[in-house]
């Protein structure tokens, strides 16, 4: 049960006296004005956790409401605001920044052997930009909320909704720039600041994943920014380019929206895939199976993801010719994901597998992502999507990937690098227990939604025909278990910051430059820039792969 502290460096100074990034200086100002990527990662960690719980609270209210067919809790208008604010918070303010802005910010420089990102001040700016966007959105939530769905479809959003479209649009617009800045920073850093010896094909796969994600940030986010901007203008001026009255095409809005928002779903999953590659290798002590296939599949996903957006619009009256193109490309984008899943599985073969908490999350991820991904095939295929579009089947599909996949990966990653971030261990028993509760609660919540969707229950329904009640109640019951599952880590993580056992530099016996530094790392990460002499994940060779200058 207790964690193996395998790599305590002899002669490391006692924890209390060593200077590291957390105790280098104190006070609010030292945090709010920091340019240290590790501290910025923690600022992000705090803010997105907050947003997750806000979004989760909306979900809890929604599930409570849906216990009864007539709606148990709120007015339809309020329900509409609940799912909209839930979607907006979870997507734009939690899941998109989740891994890139926290683990990515923390790890990218460390994994490539750099002292910081290329543009530390830009990095801090990106956090402030995020916060400003979040404040606008929270303001909107308090002052009446938004009821357009997270997809902002026109003309409902531009001319008919009576809610806070402009503040939320502004919030999303602004937050977009924080994504752009993060992506820009990563691309430049990964290109220009790798340690000597760290060639592209020696990079940890997490870095490949962050690189692919950054490409999407850079190429996709500006389009949602301009789209939302145009929507806001149209709303303010009562005239604009999506307005059918002057010949505007409301479907064009959907094209622009999904041009970003489909790739955005890979923004949410690619980093999680990166985490998987790190965790699976470490806990099976094996080099990743098919390194270059996994690396290139990340890049393939980043590129192809931009070609499939029309699969969200099969029933909108989009041209059926376009539908055909988008359908075939959607199938194509599934292949790289399949490649990854099989390679992770094959990595376990003849490994030395231990079941610590990060690994349990990883196993959950692989299984649930597979299921969520495969149900995506139902939606990519034209004939079945006609029936399933707009139903709970979609809701189940994306929660399987985003909650079962991405959030699991995020939690797994946090558990994996927590000792590095804080220098402390969390109670592994509790962590495994939480993983189990989350897994069970999750399936109970969302599996019934597949059935509901196929039976024909539309999504975004505040009231529903009575025959759907039983499955809805099961789902709500599951959600309460899931909610508790998420509270457990919150508690023991906070506990561990103070009372957790000291972790040492490399509690898992993991490979990678980030484990070569003390935990928590010093402000400049490395006393001297390491020189890399081996491939990534060289677990067969127990010695360190770094030459000391």
């Amino acid at each position: 049960m207790s964690t193996a502290v395998t790599d305590m460096q002899p002669g490391a100074p006692p924890e209390s006296s060593r200077v590291h990034y957390l105790n280098a200086n104190y006070g609010i100002k030292s945090w709010l004005l920091t340019t240290d990527h590790k501290r910025i990662a923690l600022l992000y960690l705090g803010s997105i956790t907050l947003m997750f719980f806000v979004g989760g609270a909306f979900a809890v209210l929604m599930r409570l409401h849906l216990i009864e067919p007539q709606g148990a809790l709120v007015e339809p208008d309020t329900y509409n605001k609940l799912f909209t604010m839930h979607g907006v918070m979870m997507i734009f303010f939690f899941l998109i920044p989740s891994i890139p802005a926290t683990l990515g910010n923390f790890l990218v420089p460390m994994m490539i052997g750099a002292r910081d990102l290329a543009f530390p001040r830009l990095n801090l700016l990106s956090w402030y930009v995020y916060i400003v966007g979040a404040i606008f959105t929270l303001y909107a939530a308090i002052s009446g909320g938004l009821d357009t769905g997270w997809t902002f479809y026109t003309p409902y959003s531009s001319s008919f909704s009576h809610t806070q479209v402009v503040p939320v649009a502004l919030g999303v617009f602004i937050t977009g720039f924080s994504s752009i800045l993060t992506g820009l920073n990563f691309v430049v850093t990964i290109h220009k600041m790798r340690a000597p010896g760290l060639t592209w094909f020696r990079l940890p796969l997490f870095i490949w994943a962050m690189y692919a994600t950054s490409i999407i940030f850079i190429l996709g986010t500006p389009v949602i920014a301009i789209t939302i901007f145009l929507l806001g203008l149209e709303r303010l001026l009562h005239i604009g380019i999506f307005d059918p009255a002057i010949g505007g095409d409301p479907i064009l809005f959907q094209h622009l929206f999904w041009f970003y928002s489909h790739p955005a779903v890979y923004i949410m999953i690619l980093p999680g895939m990166g985490v998987m590659s790190e965790v699976v290798t470490c806990f099976s002590r094996k080099k990743i199976f098919g390194y270059s296939f996994v690396a290139f599949s990340s890049m393939a996903i980043a590129v192809i993801s931009f070609l499939v957006w029309g699969h969200h619009m099969f029933v909108t009256g989009q041209s059926i010719y376009a539908g055909l193109i988008f359908s075939v490309l959607s199938f194509l984008v599934a292949i790289p994901s399949a490649i990854k899943v099989f390679n992770w599985t094959a990595t376990l073969y003849k490994g030395s597998i231990s079941y610590q908490a990060p690994m349990l999350y990883a196993m959950g991820f692989i299984g649930l992502f597979t299921m969520g991904g495969l149900t995506g095939l139902f939606l990519a295929s034209l004939a079945t999507d006609v029936h399933l579009n707009g139903t709970y089947f979609i809701v189940a599909h994306f929660h399987y990937i985003m909650v079962g996949g991405a959030v699991m990966a995020y939690l797994g990653g946090i558990h994996f690098w927590w000792p590095k971030i804080t220098g402390r261990m969390y109670p592994d028993g509790w962590a495994r227990f939480a993983a189990l509760v989350i897994f069970v609660g999750f399936n109970l919540t969302f599996f019934p939604q597949f059935m509901l969707g196929y039976l024909g229950m539309p999504r975004r329904y505040a009231v529903y025909p009575a025959e759907f009640q039983v499955l809805n109640v099961v789902s709500s019951a599951g959600a309460s278990i899931l909610g508790i599952g998420y509270l457990i880590p919150l508690i023991y993580f906070i506990w561990s910051m103070r009372y957790g056992p000291v972790a040492g530099p490399n509690p898992w016996g993991a490979k990678g430059l980030e484990w070569e530094t003390p935990s928590p790392p010093p402000t400049e990460n490395f006393d001297e820039i390491p020189v890399v002499t081996e491939e990534a994940y060289d677990y067969a060779n127990p010695h360190t792969g770094v030459a000391r200058g």
């Binding site: 290109h191 190429l219 389009v223 095409d249 479907i251 064009l252 094209h255 622009l256 041009f259 931009f306 070609l307 957006w309 029309g310 619009m313 009256g317 989009q318 041209s319 059926i320 010719y321 376009a322 055909l324 193109i325 988008f326």
Partner: protein
């Protein structure tokens, strides 16, 4: 390698070329060339852009990486336009019985 120093002569030459092209494109707009008006306007604009990118922005002298990045930008823009138009321009085509027969007008439509 400090940045490449481009002679002033080149800058002035590019500047004059740009001015001339501006005149040209304006002049051409006064003739009715049918669809060619648009083609001419865009062709001249692309030429001007290339001049600015290659000389003013030093891409002629810069690394492959920079070029790849610029090309990626334009390529992705092309994706956005092409796939959006693939819907907007083919919406009122009437469906024919088999999907494979459908590819024909699509291919014809492209050329």
């Amino acid at each position: 390698m400090p940045g490449h120093v481009v002679p002033v002569r080149v800058y002035v030459g590019v500047f004059l070329a740009l001015l001339a092209l501006t005149g040209l494109t304006t002049w051409v707009a006064y003739f009715d060339l049918g669809a060619m008006n648009t083609v001419a306007a865009l062709a001249i604009a692309v030429t001007k852009m290339l001049l600015v990118i290659l000389f003013f922005m030093h891409v002629k002298y810069s690394s492959g990486l920079t070029r790849v990045i610029i090309l990626a930008g334009f390529f992705w823009f092309a994706i956005l336009v092409a796939l959006t138009l693939s819907d907007e321009l083919t919406r009122h085509w009437t469906p024919s019985p088999a999907p494979w027969g459908l590819l024909l007008p699509l291919i014809r439509g492209l050329f």
